[in-house]
Amino acid sequence: MELSDWELVQKSQAGDRAAFQELVSRYHQKVYMVILGLMRNRDDAMEVAQETFFRAYQKLDRFQGDSSFYTWLYRIAVNLSIDAQRRQKRTPLEFRESVDGLLEKQNEVAKDPSADLANKQLREKLLDAINDLTPEHKAVIVLRTIEGLSYRDIGEILGCSEGTVMSRLHYARKKLQQKLRAWL
């Protein structure tokens, strides 16, 4: 029978290395995707993902199970991503290159060239528009879109109320719609 997150956390706290490895296995892909959504650079995202699990391991003794493990983990990931972004504000060129690389990789498996061009342009505009959002607005969009998390969970991760999450999402979507008026 598969152990719950909380059971694995308790085993990890008791020094069971395999239990912590199982927790990392469960969440590393999801955590990486959330970080990538916030940072848009694969190398930086990988580095922050690794740092997230390392910090989680360091702080695991203090985790009492008041919230679910994944909201606690995402909180670490989001905070580290926002800090990293503020520290090393990437230039538009570097950002552009990372997006172009991503799009080229996707193009390799594309079938319809004209549809692909339109999709490519839309994605490019969308990623630009997301990048222009404030870290707080970007975080709600990413957590809702990638993880489909509830407003309650998002609020727990970001340390705000469900009402604030709803209002931030509304504002962020409105901003994105304004910037992509010609495309959507």
Binding site: G37, R123, I130, Q177, L184
Partner: protein, 176 residues
């Protein structure tokens, strides 16, 4: 919740399934009847789809470096307390401490004898200045020595008066 503006404020939450059942039904009813709000709902749907496609890409990565790096860091963290304890134990074990006593004494004596370290209880600089006239050559020599910065300045200046008084036959050089 009947006005278009009001409904549009909740369309996102409605599509996210985050509205209470009563409000959700009210929005649904309005959207079914109002073409403007219906079109707004479709736009929002398209935005959500585009967001999922754009943000969902990029997950295919090689995880080996991630696992290797994480394992290395975790292993270092696990080892650290044990390594530290071992070091403290070996360094401060009484039998092994004996060698450190003369070493510390020598280091202290060396430190105190350094010119740059001021004597304990006295913080003034050990420096002096002197000016000497060399009448025979019509020169003034000024000497300044500062022990703190380990600087010695020797200043040689032509003495106009001395030049006038200088004898025609040179005398032996004064000894310094």
């Amino acid at each position: 919740m009947t006005g278009c503006e009001n409904v549009r404020g909740f369309l996102g939450a409605f599509l996210d399934g985050e509205l209470p059942p009563g409000e959700s039904q009210s929005v649904e009813r309005h959207v079914r009847q109002c073409p403007v709000c219906r079109s707004e709902r479709e736009r929002l749907d398209r935005l959500n789809t585009a967001l999922r496609e754009a943000l969902g890409a990029g997950g295919e990565v090689a995880w080996d470096p991630f696992w290797r790096g994480l394992e290395r860091r975790l292993e270092a963290k696990r080892r650290w307390p044990a390594t530290m304890a071992e070091w403290l134990e070996s360094a401060f074990a009484p039998a092994k401490l004996a060698w450190a006593i003369p070493l510390v004494l020598v280091a202290l004596i060396g430190l105190l004898s350094l010119e740059s370290v001021p004597p304990i209880g006295r913080r003034d600089r050990n420096s002096f200045a002197a000016v000497e006239s060399i009448n025979a050559y019509g020169q003034n020599v000024a000497l300044f020595r500062d022990s703190e910065t380990r600087t010695t300045v020797i200043w040689l200046e032509q003495n106009q008066e001395g030049q006038d008084e200088a004898p025609t036959t040179p005398e032996p050089s004064p000894a310094f």
